[in-house]
């Protein structure tokens, strides 16, 4: 398979090498971090000379060398997990139950387990280096009756369990804060400078995070610490040293030096792991230069027009789009290649491939927004009603054939899938089937809204703005007002080019049988019953604005597509010798204006325009939470870039009256 071969090429030749380089750097950074840890963990201000000599002797001892080798292994494993689990589109849970499902996923279980073990190993290494108090698992002690016995060293146990706890919490936090999400930055910098700029943040984060983990761990150990202790004592037939406080008591836990050692070990653990994550992000998001035209035949698969339409891997698509956005801004020589004609034949293949891919991305987003808006709009109404009022009136108004239909390429049905596909998979298709999947849909109202309201809905319908009697997807495609259409949720997934396939669901739905009516009523009753249970409400309630975030989760690609297209179009004003861009200019403008309208409409929904809280300090990058705002701004700027460059020339372009009106707003700077 063509694309499979290609993805193999990219992952094998680029991503893997980048990951390997990042792991190598992380390993190289390990000695200074370890040295710093040793120095800080044995700090004693009143005996500075002793402190320094001790540190030196520890750093050169054989046990440190051994634990250092172990730590290198841990870093390599963590780096490998970064490579395996990274994603460029964050997975956003729309409700508590979805988050829970993510946490209990087998893949995540493996992640947690491995990190737990890694945490134990790191903590054991820490115990070795910190000093005699933690070093051994068992120690000699004299019991009350006087004979020496092997006792459990509880400090060692506490530290090792702390490592497991931090490792598990790290994995857990990774899911909750999307730590495996690799963000792309608007500003390009060299790798070293980017790393240097982020380093203070990482140190701060790991120190603060370690503080929180220590606090939580103390709580857990206070209540549950006796279980592992007694278990170990029983299985290994060790004694408890009764002369010391047991550590799951208040007096035992309030040991300041132990708290400090726990905190510094946690910081060390998190710092080495976060550094690995940071290096991985820096390396993997580095700009990759794809050739626009292949010089040799064997490179033909690796040039930009061939790479862009590919679906997998996502990182390849993202890097290709990023490269497109950059070349459109910064390199005139590569733009010339984009605008060039094929030899022989004289077809603008490069431009056609690039523009059609960008446009299908944008059309796909529009379609998603429209579908989402529909689900929200009909959520409070009776879903059955859509079947009853479906008149299948297909207008023959073919004159107003819109841009959407022109560009909906055969691929448009499967353009981009968000990996969770929170939206695509479950929302539209299964919302009507299973009450329990309803909360996964990114709509905003509670799925358990009162049935009474739903019964009222048909009466309200004619007065609502959604009462346009246009139901078929056929007509939906006609005008620029895309969402004015079908209340049937199933059609929203398809802007597919063949009308027959789009119409197929209708005959099934159009006759509401008594059985269906009965089932529907039962479903409502079950929903109503469940809605009153507090726990279920808690689990299934929508998280505010999560649906918006999920909708725009992969919008970085749309932002690049918009930037790339608009810069290319603006540059074509002076650089496009053959006029290849002019042929697609109407559809580009059409798509952008339709998207603009859809985005405007989306931001009128509740929660959509509320800003997320700034998270204080966490390694999980939360830029994905604001992607929708970035997309809105980029979209406006992109349209303005085209209108400012072309000015009044745009009046010569054929487009529908509604689009022209909107474009005029942009020409007059009134948007």
């Amino acid at each position: 398979m063509f694309s499979a071969e290609q993805s193999c090429w990219f992952v094998r030749k680029v991503v893997c090498w980048r990951a390997a380089a990042s792991i190598a750097w992380a390993v190289l950074l390990l000695p200074p971090v370890t040295a710093l840890f040793v120095v800080l963990s044995r700090v004693s201000l009143f005996h500075p000379i002793q402190w320094i000599t001790e540190c030196l002797s520890i750093l050169t001892s054989a046990s440190t060398m051994f634990s250092f080798v172990l730590l290198c292994g841990v870093v390599v494993v963590v780096g490998y997990f970064n490579l395996e689990y990274y994603t460029v589109t964050p997975s956003i849970a729309c409700s508590k139950i979805a988050l829970l499902a993510q946490l209990l996923h087998p893949r995540q279980f493996v992640h947690s387990l491995v990190h737990c073990i890694m945490g134990v190993i790191v903590a054991w290494c820490c115990a070795i280096t910190i000093g005699p108090r933690y070093q051994n698992f068992a120690s000699l002690c004299t019991l009350a009756d006087g004979d020496p016995q092997l006792c459990l060293n509880e400090y060692h146990l506490v530290l090792v369990l702390f490592g497991a706890f931090v490792g598990y919490s790290h994995s857990l936090f990774g899911v909750m804060h999307n730590m495996n999400y690799v963000p792309f930055h608007a500003v390009q910098q060299y790798k070293y400078l980017r790393f240097k700029g982020n380093l203070p943040l990482v140190v701060k984060c790991s120190a603060i995070q370690s503080l929180y983990f220590t606090r939580n761990y103390l709580g857990v150990y206070f209540f549950l610490g006796y279980i592992p202790r007694s278990w170990l004592c029983n299985t290994l037939s060790l004694q408890l040293n009764s002369s010391l406080h047991p550590l799951d008591s208040v007096a035992g836990l309030l040991d300041l030096s132990m708290l400090y050692h726990l905190w510094i070990s946690g910081t060390f653990l998190l710092l080495t792991w976060y550094l690995t994550v940071l290096l991985f992000r820096v390396f993997v998001t580095e700009v990759y230069n794809f050739p626009v035209q292949a010089t040799f035949a064997e490179q033909a698969n690796r040039c930009l027009p061939k790479v862009l339409p590919g679906q997998q891997p996502m990182i390849l698509k993202f890097l290709a789009l990023q490269d497109l956005a950059l070349l459109s801004q910064h390199s005139p020589s590569r733009r010339v290649q984009v605008f060039s004609l094929s030899q022989p034949g004289g077809h603008p293949h490069n431009w056609n491939a690039i523009s059609s891919e960008c446009l299908s991305l944008l059309a796909d987003l529009t379609q998603r927004l429209v579908a989402h808006h529909e689900t929200v709009a009909i959520n409070g109404r009776a879903k059955l009603h859509s079947a009853g009022s479906d008149k299948k009136s297909i207008s023959t108004d073919s004159s107003g054939l819109s841009m959407t239909q022109d560009i909906s390429t055969p691929r448009s049905s499967g353009v981009i899938h968000t990996p969770v596909s929170v939206f695509l998979r479950s929302s539209v298709a299964s919302a009507a089937q299973n009450p329990l999947t309803a909360p996964f849909t990114p709509d905003l109202d509670s799925p358990f809204s009162s049935p009474a309201l739903r019964r009222l809905a048909p009466h309200l319908e004619p007065t609502s703005p959604w009462s346009d009697t246009v139901q078929s997807p056929h007509i939906m495609r006609r005008g620029p007002k895309l969402w004015s259409a079908s209340t049937d949720s199933q059609t929203s997934g398809s802007l597919s080019p063949s009308p027959s396939s789009a119409l197929s669901p209708h005959p099934a739905v159009s006759k509401p049988s008594p059985l269906a009516q009965f089932l529907h009523n039962r479903k409502e009753q079950v929903k109503h019953f469940l809605a009153r249970r507090v726990l279920i409400m808690y689990l299934f309630n929508k998280l505010p604005e999560a649906s918006s975030q999920a909708l725009f989760a992969d919008s970085q690609s749309h932002i690049w597509a918009l930037e790339g297209l608009s810069h290319l179009v603006a540059a074509s004003f002076s650089e496009d010798k053959f006029g290849v861009v002019q042929t697609t200019l109407p559809s580009i403008l059409g798509i952008m204006l339709v998207l603009q309208e859809a985005v405007d409409r989306h931001f009128k929904l509740p929660h959509a325009s509320s800003k997320p809280l700034r998270s204080a300090c966490s390694m999980g990058d939360c830029t994905y939470k604001t992607l929708r705002f970035a997309l809105r701004a980029t979209l406006k700027t992109a349209i303005y870039r085209i209108t400012t460059t072309f000015g009044q020339h745009l009046n010569a372009i054929k487009m529908s009256a509604e689009h022209r009106k909107r474009l005029q707003q942009f020409l007059e700077y009134k948007e």
Partner: protein
């Protein structure tokens, strides 16, 4: 090299420069009834109430000294930060424990030693803005910042009372922007390729207003403003939008890193370079490829915007005070504090590279020149406050600082005619003068004036005037043999300046 000696003498007192046409500056008597046009504004200094401030000197007079040391320490921590706290402890050594006062004395001495490396860190944030703002005598100026919209006929004016008004010839009532955090505005700038976004550099943060151009509201709510702040990044003295409208950079003299904001996502990337101790002034080249970043030390940087690497340009004498880019981004003109010359640097237009000239060349000599006028001698020249280059690259306006004490050395706006292609030339054009007693404080060229260039000048008496320069652009084919395009409105009160020779010779 061009110097002020080639300039026509300043107008006698009472004459006001109206416009440039047919290669001459046209002036009129100020006593005549003035018709300043629709967009000329007047903000009398008296009508604006500045935000009341707590003066450092009056602090002791109002504080109750019966308060305990801890309360006073807390107050001084709030007002003056760490140094204030330490000073308070050292000053009241009788109350504080001995170890505390001694140790805080040591820390204070250490801090002062460190900050003496960067003397600007000792300034209060108000004084710092006044020192590094592009406005001449910022603290006493009625108009504190001014910005034309890059695409349409509207502009924003920041006033002494911390409000911003947006003027538009089509609407009668200008919207007024006020925000709790909008204090001591140092700079405003409209976002390019956008109708509504206005970035404001304030004392504590950065505000981005979204003023809907279709809205009729006179007082947009503070919900329309986005607050961008970063710890340690205040006061903000300069901001610059990228010409493509996607990024915003901001600078603070206190912060060694300059921030590159993705405004919509409210995320920022700090670009840190320690040398210089801060960033005072930013200017983005019109082609988007370079950013000039001046520091409080005798050093400035030119960033290349593709990979964000920078070139260091150490200066000999003082800090870089102002700078401007040619329209194609290939040439940077800048001035240095303490030197009365304009320097020029060229950059190749290959993006991503920083290959340009190895040293800055002096292109204009602005040393003090005495002109004899009927009213007496006037000395013009000296240090430069602000440079402005019109978007076509044909007129360069230079705001000369003058001396506020000496009446014979007023601040002046000198205008040069410039040409960038095929060789760089500077020719004298003339001085722009306002009403008697009014000094220019701030100026900006209109970004797209169809008949040539238009310079907007904010005067010390609170008036804002617009001086058009009618000329045919060198790049546009000339229709007639010579002369300017027809002026849009008839001018009757033209004063003939025929006895002054036209400057056509090349003086470079």
């Amino acid at each position: 090299m061009c110097s002020l000696a080639f300039f026509p003498p300043p107008l006698p007192r009472g004459q006001i420069t109206l416009c440039e046409t047919n290669n001459e500056l046209v002036s009129t008597e100020s006593s005549q009834k003035q018709d300043y046009g629709p967009l000329s504004l007047y903000f009398p200094r008296e009508s604006l109430k500045p935000h009341s401030r707590t003066e450092n000197s009056s602090k002791a007079a109002f504080l109750q000294h019966s308060e305990t040391l801890w309360i006073r320490s807390a107050t001084s921590w709030r007002e003056a930060g760490l140094t204030g706290l330490l000073e308070e402890i050292v000053n009241s050594s009788t109350e504080a424990p001995k170890w505390l006062s001694v140790s805080s004395g040591c820390v204070l001495a250490l801090l002062q030693r460190v900050s003496s490396l960067f003397p600007h860190l000792k300034l209060s944030s108000e004084n710092m803005i006044a020192e590094f703002s592009q406005v001449l005598n910022w603290s006493d100026c009625a108009v504190r910042a001014f910005a034309w919209h890059p695409h349409t006929e509207k502009f924003a004016v920041a006033l002494l009372d911390d409000s911003i008004k947006i003027y538009n010839p089509k609407s009668a009532t200008p919207p007024t922007l006020k925000h709790r955090l909008q204090r001591s505005v140092a700079c405003v700038q409209w976002k390019p390729l956008c109708a509504s976004a206005l970035a404001v550099a304030c004392q504590t943060c950065l505000l981005v207003w979204h003023v809907d151009p279709c809205s009729l509201s006179i007082r947009p709510s503070s919900g329309c403003a986005q607050v961008l702040s970063h710890p340690g990044h205040s006061p903000v003295t300069s901001i610059a939008w990228s010409p493509s409208g996607s990024l915003l950079v901001s600078a603070s003299p206190v912060d060694t890193s300059m921030m590159v904001w993705d405004v919509a996502a409210e995320s920022c990337v700090p670009l840190q370079r320690v040398g210089g101790g801060g960033v005072t002034f930013l200017s983005w080249s019109p082609d988007g490829s370079h950013v000039l970043a001046a520091t409080p030390a005798p050093l400035f940087r030119v960033w290349e915007t593709r990979m964000w690497t920078c070139e260091r340009w150490p200066c000999l004498k003082g800090r870089c005070e102002s700078g401007c880019w040619s329209p194609d981004g290939s040439r940077l003109l800048f001035t240095i504090q303490g030197e009365a010359v304009i320097y020029s640097l060229t950059f190749s237009d290959t993006p991503g590279t920083m290959k340009g000239s190895k040293a800055a060349a002096i292109v204009a000599d602005l040393s003090e020149t005495t002109f004899t006028t009927p009213a007496g001698d006037i000395i013009v020249g000296g240090e430069v406050q602000l440079l402005a280059w019109d978007p076509r690259g044909e007129r360069l306006a230079v705001l000369l600082k003058g001396d506020s004490e000496a009446a014979a050395r007023p601040a002046m706006v000198a205008v040069f005619k410039t040409r960038n292609d095929p060789i760089f030339e500077l020719l004298p054009c003339g001085f722009i003068q306002g009403e008697p007693g009014a000094e220019p404080r701030l100026m900006q060229f209109h970004p797209n004036f169809p008949h040539g260039a238009m310079l907007t000048v904010c005067w010390s008496n609170g008036r804002i005037t617009h001086v058009p320069f009618y000329f045919l652009s060198a790049g546009v084919p000339h229709l007639g043999l010579n002369g300017s395009p027809a002026m849009p409105q008839p001018e009757e009160r033209l004063v003939d300046y025929g006895n002054n020779t036209l400057y056509t010779e090349l003086c470079s």
